[in-house]
Symmetry: C2
Subunit: 472 residues, 2 copies
C-alpha cells in the first residue's frame, strides 16, 4: 500500500497487468458513479479488493494510485484510500445494468442526431426534411413574427389557450373527450413524459414497459431510477396474461405504452385488447401513460386507452414532432380534471413556462388548415415507401413478420445466425445508422431484429450497405 502516485505514473507496467489494472479502476469508478461509494467513503482494503477481484495486491495498488493521480480518490497514509471529496455527478450509464453502447438508448439517439448530412439513417425515428410541410410551417412562423405576443412573453401556466382548444377538438375526433382545461402543454412529448413520470413515480418505483418499446421510455425510466419490467408485445399488443402477471407480481406505479402504431412494431390495439387492458389496470390499481405521438399517421383513428377510459386512470400525451417538425416541438398532456392543478404546480416548479413561440406557431399552422392535406399526402407516400421497403428487405433476406397499416416503422428479422448489433456496427462504420432490436428490448430478446424507417430508405445504397453489413 505504499506505491505513491509519482511511482505509479513513472514506472512502466507490463501490458497484461495494465488491462487488469484498468478492470480494477473501472470497478471502483462504477461504484463511485453509481454512488455505492459516496464522496469521502473509504475504499475496500487492497487485500480484500484483490481477493474479491481475483487479482494480485500490486494490481490493486497500481489501480488505486492511478485513480488518485486522476483526483478521483485520495490516499491518507496509514488509513487507506478514500473517494475524493468533490461529489461526482450522475452518470446515467451507471444506473442499472451497464449497457453496450451499441444498445444504449441514449447513445442511439446521439448517433441519429449527430449523423452528418451525407449519412443514411434507415434506423432513425423521424422523417427526412423533404417529407415535412416546411413552407407552410415557415408561413405560420412569419405570421407569428408579425402579429403575436408569443415572441415576447411567457405563456399562461397551463399553456397556450388557443392551441389547447384546437387540440381538444382533435382529441374528440379520435374518441377522446377532453376539455381544453384538461390539457397541459409542455415543450415536447419527451418533456411531457418526463413531467408525468415525476408526477406519478418516485425513484425505486416500478414501471411496466412493452418489450420491445420506444427506447426513450427506457432512457427516461433510467433517468428517474425506476425499476423496469417488460411485457412481451406483439402484433396484437401486449401479452395480456404476462401483463396481469406483472401487475400482480411487481405492483407497478404505471404502465407506459403506445396504443396506436406502436414504436417499434407498428401494431395498433384492437377494441377488445384496449378494454381488457383497462380492466386489468383497474383491478390491480395501476395507472396508464399513453404516448400517442404517432396518431396523425393513421388514416382512421384506432381505439385509444384514454378514449375508452374517459381519462380516469389513463394520462394521454400527444404532439407534432413526427408529422410536422422536430424544430418546433410541443407536447400535450390530457388528464383527469382534478389532477390538472397539481401537474401545473409541478410544471411551474421545474420549467416555469413552456415555449410560447413554438406553441403559437403550431397553433397558427393548424389554423391554416393545410395540415390535413399534408397528412393525406404523407400517408400515401408512406404506404408506397412501405411496399417498396418490404420488397427490398425480402430480397436482402430479412423477414417482416407484421406489416403495419400506417406509420413509418417496420420491425424486421435478420436471417438465422446474424446479430443485429454486429450488423449495425458494421453499417455505422460505413455511415449508415441502423436501429438494432435490443435497443428496444428490456429483456435483450430482440437480437435478430432491426427497426426500419421506410421514409429514410429512398436511397438504394441503404440496401446495398445493409447487404454488405450482413455479409460481415
Amino acid at each position: 500500500m505504499t506505491g505513491s502516485v509519482r511511482e505509479a505514473l513513472s514506472e512502466p507496467v507490463p501490458e497484461a497487468t495494465l488491462s487488469r489494472v484498468q478492470t480494477v479502476m473501472r470497478a471502483i469508478e462504477d461504484r463511485i458513479e453509481g454512488r455505492a461509494l459516496g464522496p469521502g467513503a473509504r475504499l475496500p482494503s487492497v487485500r480484500a479488493f484483490a481477493e474479491s477481484m481475483g487479482v494480485s495486491k500490486s494490481t490493486v495498488v497500481e489501480a488505486y494510485d492511478r485513480l488518485a493521480a486522476r483526483g478521483a480518490i485520495v490516499s491518507r497514509p496509514g488509513s487507506g484510500f478514500f473517494v475524493a471529496a468533490r461529489p461526482e455527478p450522475l452518470s446515467l450509464a451507471a444506473i442499472g445494468p451497464r449497457l453496450d453502447r451499441a444498445v444504449d438508448p441514449v447513445w442511439i439517439t446521439r448517433q441519429s442526431l449527430e449523423a452528418g448530412p451525407d449519412s443514411l439513417r434507415p434506423g432513425c425515428g423521424w422523417l427526412p426534411p423533404d417529407w415535412l410541410p416546411e413552407e407552410d410551417l415557415r408561413r405560420a412562423l412569419r405570421h407569428v413574427a408579425r402579429q403575436s405576443d408569443a415572441v415576447m412573453f411567457y405563456d399562461t401556466p397551463q399553456g397556450h389557450a388557443p392551441l389547447r382548444q384546437q387540440l381538444a377538438l382533435r382529441l374528440t375526433e379520435r374518441g377522446i373527450r377532453a376539455h381544453p382545461d384538461q390539457l397541459v402543454l409542455a415543450d415536447s412529448v419527451t418533456q411531457a413524459l418526463d413531467l408525468i413520470i415525476r408526477f406519478l413515480a418516485e425513484p425505486g418505483d416500478t414501471v411496466l414497459l412493452d418489450d420491445p418499446c420506444y427506447f426513450s421510455f427506457q432512457a427516461l425510466a433510467r433517468a428517474h431510477r425506476l425499476r423496469m419490467v417488460g411485457v412481451p408485445f406483439g402484433p396484437e399488443g401486449p401479452d395480456l396474461a404476462a401483463f396481469e402477471q406483472a401487475l400482480i407480481e411487481h405492483k407497478p406505479r404505471f404502465y407506459i405504452t403506445n396504443s396506436g402504431l406502436q414504436n417499434p412494431t407498428g401494431a395498433t390495439l384492437s377494441p377488445v385488447v384496449v378494454h381488457r387492458m383497462l380492466r386489468l389496470a383497474e383491478m390491480h390499481g395501476t395507472l396508464i401513460v399513453e404516448d400517442d405521438a404517432y396518431a396523425d399517421f393513421e388514416p382512421e383513428p384506432g381505439p385509444r386507452l384514454a378514449g375508452f377510459d374517459g381519462l380516469d386512470r389513463v394520462i394521454h400525451v400527444g404532439g407534432f414532432s413526427k408529422t410536422l417538425s422536430t424544430g418546433a416541438r410541443v407536447g400535450a398532456i390530457a388528464l383527469r380534471s382534478d389532477w390538472v392543478e397539481r401537474l401545473v404546480d409541478l410544471k411551474l416548479a421545474v420549467s416555469l413556462s413552456d415555449n410560447h413561440l413554438t406553441a403559437a406557431t403550431v397553433h397558427r399552422f393548424l389554423a391554416e388548415g393545410s395540415y390535413r392535406h399534408h397528412l393525406d399526402a404523407l400517408r400515401t407516400r408512406l404506404a408506397d415507401a412501405r411496399g417498396m421497403v418490404v420488397r427490398r428487405l425480402a430480397q436482402a433476406g430479412l423477414s417482416v413478420p407484421f406489416v403495419p397499416s400506417a406509420g413509418m416503422f417496420l420491425w424486421t428479422r435478420l436471417p438465422e445466425g446474424l446479430d443485429a448489433v454486429d450488423v449495425s456496427r458494421r453499417a455505422l462504420a460505413r455511415g449508415v445508422v441502423l436501429a438494432p432490436g435490443n435497443v428496444f428490448s428490456i429483456s435483450q430478446g430482440a437480437a435478430s431484429f432491426l427497426r426500419f424507417n421506410v421514409a429514410q430508405c429512398a436511397s438504394p445504397r441503404v440496401f446495398s450497405e445493409l447487404s454488405r453489413a450482413m455479409e460481415g
Copy 2:
C-alpha cells in the same frame, strides 16, 4: 366502525363536529398525498386515530366514511379502511412543510403569470413589454423563418453550435473561460437548473440556499425532494461563518446562488467573498451552482464564482429571459469538460433536444449587434426608475436597507408592525401583485420585507394601492 357511506352522506352533522371531521380528513389526505400511506395501505384504526388526533371515534368514522364516498379510501368490512388502489400522483404542496398559499413559491409564480393585462405587478420578476427589444427580436425571427433549418429539425445534442460560440465569447468578457464545447443548452434557465439538480443530487440530499433567495430555487428543490438549508444572505453576500457551519453540519451536495445582482436583494459579491466561498466549498467538498441570469443588467461585469474557480467545482448557468424575452427562452450551462458528455446523456434522456427555433432566433438576435445598445438604454432606464421608486417607497414609509448598483429589484422593509403577507393579500384583492419577503425565505424570517421590481412601478397607482394595503 359500521357507519356506511350512505349514512355519512345523508345524516346532518353539527357545524362544530364538521370542522373536526375536516381536520381528520385533511390529516389522512396529507398522508396519502405525501405517500406516508401508499395505495392499498391500511388506515390507522378508528380508535387509535381518534386518540392520536384528540377527537371522538365518531368524528373519525365520519371522516373515513366521507373519504370513502370520495373514492380516496375503501372500506373492507371486518378488516378496516384502506387507501384506494388508484395511486395518487405527486402533490408538490405535500412535500415538506405545508405552506400558506400566499408564501408558496409556485403560487406566486402562478399569480404573476395569470395576472390580467390591467393588473399591476410590482412584485413580478420580469420586465414590462415596452422595456424589451421587441422589434429587433421580431426581425431576428423573420430572418430565421426565411433562412434557417431551425424551423424544421432537431438541433445537435449539446445545442445550437453557433449560439454556443457566441455565448463562450460573452462569458470570456465576464472573466469566465469556457470553450464552446463546455456549454450545453437547455430550453430555459429554469430547465437548465432542473437538469443540473438531477445531475448532482438524489432525493433526500441536502442543498444550501441563500436566505432570502430566488423562490424558484425552493420550488425546484421541493420538486426534487431535497432537504433545504438556508444561509443568511445580506448586502455583502452569504454569512461566511454560517456558510461554513452549514457545510460542516449538513454536508450539502451543492450550494445554489446568484453571485451578481442576487434575487431578491440585488447584492453582488466582492472578490474577497467569492474567493472565500470557493475555498470553503473546496475544503468541505461541495459543488456550487451559479445562476447568473441577471448578468446582463450589470454595466461592468462583477466577480463570478465560475470565473475564479475556472469551472472546476462551479457549474454556471446563464440566459436571456430577463433582458431579451420570456417568449424565446434559452438556458446555457457551462461546466467541466469531463462532465459534458454525462450531462448531455441526461439531457437526451429527459428532453431529447432543446428548442432549435428559439436557439437560432437568439443567435440571430445577438449576431445583429443591437443587444448592446438595448442593454445600455435598459440600464439607464432602470437607474432612473430605481431612484424614483426608492423615493416613493420612502414616502410610503418603507425603508430600503440596501440600494443595488443595477438590476430591477429592491428588497424593502415595511414599517414596524406590518406583515408583508397581509399587505400582499389586501393588494392582490385590488389587482396588485406584490412579492412578500417570506416567499424568498426558507426560515420564514422576512415577514416585514417586500421585493419590488422598479420597472413595474411606473404607474402612480402602485404606490397609492400600496399605501391603501398598508392601512389595512
